[in-house]
């Protein structure tokens, strides 16, 4: 099973390395979308500092959802998805590998871009650290849930919007805990509760989502 996992993961990374501009799009979207907010709500520093955790998380969510829509599309089109599912190993390896690839290609770059965002919004050191820690725990959750949505909406015309509609409610707990952690730290309180809950969410999602995604892949390709 590990072989299939690694094979799928490395293949995705190699394919992405050939289309580097495409791979950077989610990060660019992330930054552009975030920049809209000061333009929309005004440049007053304290307010921006207040809303920063929430809007960073929301933009990370949207960037993730927008890029996960095409997670299986390429493989479906060129027939490799069928091959992957025909393998003797369980499809859960495919699901996990695709989720991991998505995180490495979207989630991780978002985390790397976040200090820049911290600068734009005037976040203090501890707040930024809390934001990064939260995203480190939360972006894998987004990738795992996004993969499930992508598998369910595979090949559908209305795919993109539909995926966002069905996955977004499931990601709300992560949003609440992740943004809440930063708010707490800014208020001088401890965020350990938030991080524990995020960690528990990540664990639960990591255990359950690939299984559901594998089932969804079978449903969508039969």
């Amino acid at each position: 099973m590990r072989d299939l996992f690694l094979a799928v993961l490395l293949r995705d990374l190699k394919l992405a390395s050939r289309r580097r501009i495409d791979s950077l799009l989610p990060v660019v979207f992330f930054i552009v979308a975030l920049s809209l907010f000061p333009l929309g709500v005004g440049p007053e520093p304290q307010m921006l500092r207040d809303i920063a955790p929430g809007i960073v998380w929301v933009c990370a969510l949207l960037a993730s959802m927008l890029s996960v829509g095409s997670l299986f599309a390429g493989d479906l089109a060129d027939g490799s998805l069928e091959q992957m599912l025909l393998a003797p190993q369980p499809a859960i390896a495919v699901a996990a590998a695709k989720s991991a690839a998505h995180w490495l290609l979207t989630g991780l770059p978002l985390i790397v871009a976040t200090p820049l965002v911290g600068l734009l919004f005037g976040l203090s050191g501890p707040a930024l650290a809390a934001l990064l820690a939260g995203l480190l725990l939360g972006t894998p959750i987004l990738s795992l849930l996004g993969a499930l949505g992508a598998a369910l909406t595979l090949g559908l015309r209305s795919g993109g919007m539909l995926l966002i509609l069905i996955v977004l409610p499931l990601t709300m707990p992560a949003l609440i805990f992740g943004a809440g952690a930063v708010s707490n730290v800014e208020a001088g309180l401890s965020a350990s509760g938030h991080f524990s809950l995020l960690g528990a969410l990540l664990l639960g999602t990591a255990l359950g989502a690939p299984l559901a995604t594998a089932a969804a892949l079978r449903i969508s390709t039969e």
């Binding site: 369910l152 909406t153 509609l165 069905i166 977004l168 969508s220």
Partner: protein, 251 residues
């Protein structure tokens, strides 16, 4: 000739369901109306005025039953969708699909009455308290399910995908509720709980219970009727439907 022994799953035949449900629906309507009249009578003419909220609290006789129904129907829908998926039981999948719009309706009604109750009581058309926010997210879950099953043309794929989504949603409902409650207690601004309000006189509880049962009966009536429509749509080419609509099958 002896009729074949009655087994539980013969009720699972769509044709059988169509006939039985058709006979049951009028009784459900009758029950719904009777229970509603009883509940509303007690709610308006027996239950006393609330000390803090005045007469505005009487919205509770719709708000709370609608909220309960919205949550219950989601779980029931997920259950039957799961049964349909696991046992390839066509009728179960049809029932699940039939439940969704009614569940969404009750969710919307709970939200609407929650807002209308909030305005005179707390001064705002909307408060982001834990219960209302969870209800809003539940509405999104319903809409997601409906959108997904409607977007997939292949009926079997749609049923199965919907079942998976509904089951995943069910697992998430307690998580979402917990996280929203957590979020709500942090942001001390709007922590007014919509249902904490009146100290419930037993007459108020009775009225609420009766209204809940009335909504239950209503849900049965509407969901069964919708299921019958779905059954006809899906089984249109089968012999029993042909007989039903008065034509005869092509040879």
């Amino acid at each position: 000739m002896n009729s074949p022994p009655l087994r539980l799953y013969t009720f699972a035949a769509p044709s059988r369901f169509y006939r039985l449900a058709g006979r049951a629906v009028p009784w459900f309507w009758a029950a719904a109306i009777a229970l509603a009249l009883a509940g509303l009578y007690i709610g308006f003419f027996v239950a006393p005025t609330d000390a803090t909220q005045g007469e505005a609290y009487r919205i509770i006789f719709i708000h709370v039953p609608a909220a309960w129904m919205s949550m219950l129907l989601y779980l029931v829908m997920a259950f039957w969708a799961g049964v349909g998926w696991a046992f390839k039981a066509r009728l179960a999948s049809m029932v699940a699909r039939a439940i969704a719009p009614t569940g969404a309706m009750f969710t919307f009604l709970a939200l609407w009455t929650g807002a209308v109750w909030g305005k005179p009581t707390w001064g705002a058309w909307w408060v982001w308290d834990a219960r209302l926010t969870s209800e809003l997210i539940l509405l999104f879950l319903y809409l997601g399910y409906i959108a997904l099953v409607n977007a997939i043309d292949d009926v079997r794929r749609a049923d199965q995908a919907g079942a998976l989504l509904a089951l995943v949603g069910s697992v998430n409902v307690p998580i979402i509720y917990f996280s929203v409650k957590w979020w709500n207690t942090l942001h001390q601004g709007a922590t007014i709980s919509m249902t904490a309000a009146p100290k419930m006189a037993s007459t108020m509880l009775t009225a609420m219970l009766l209204m809940t049962l009335a909504f239950w009966a209503y849900a049965f009536a509407v969901v069964f009727t919708r299921t019958r429509a779905i059954v006809v749509e899906r089984e249109a080419h089968s012999g029993w439907v042909a007989e039903l609509v008065g034509g005869r099958m092509h040879p």
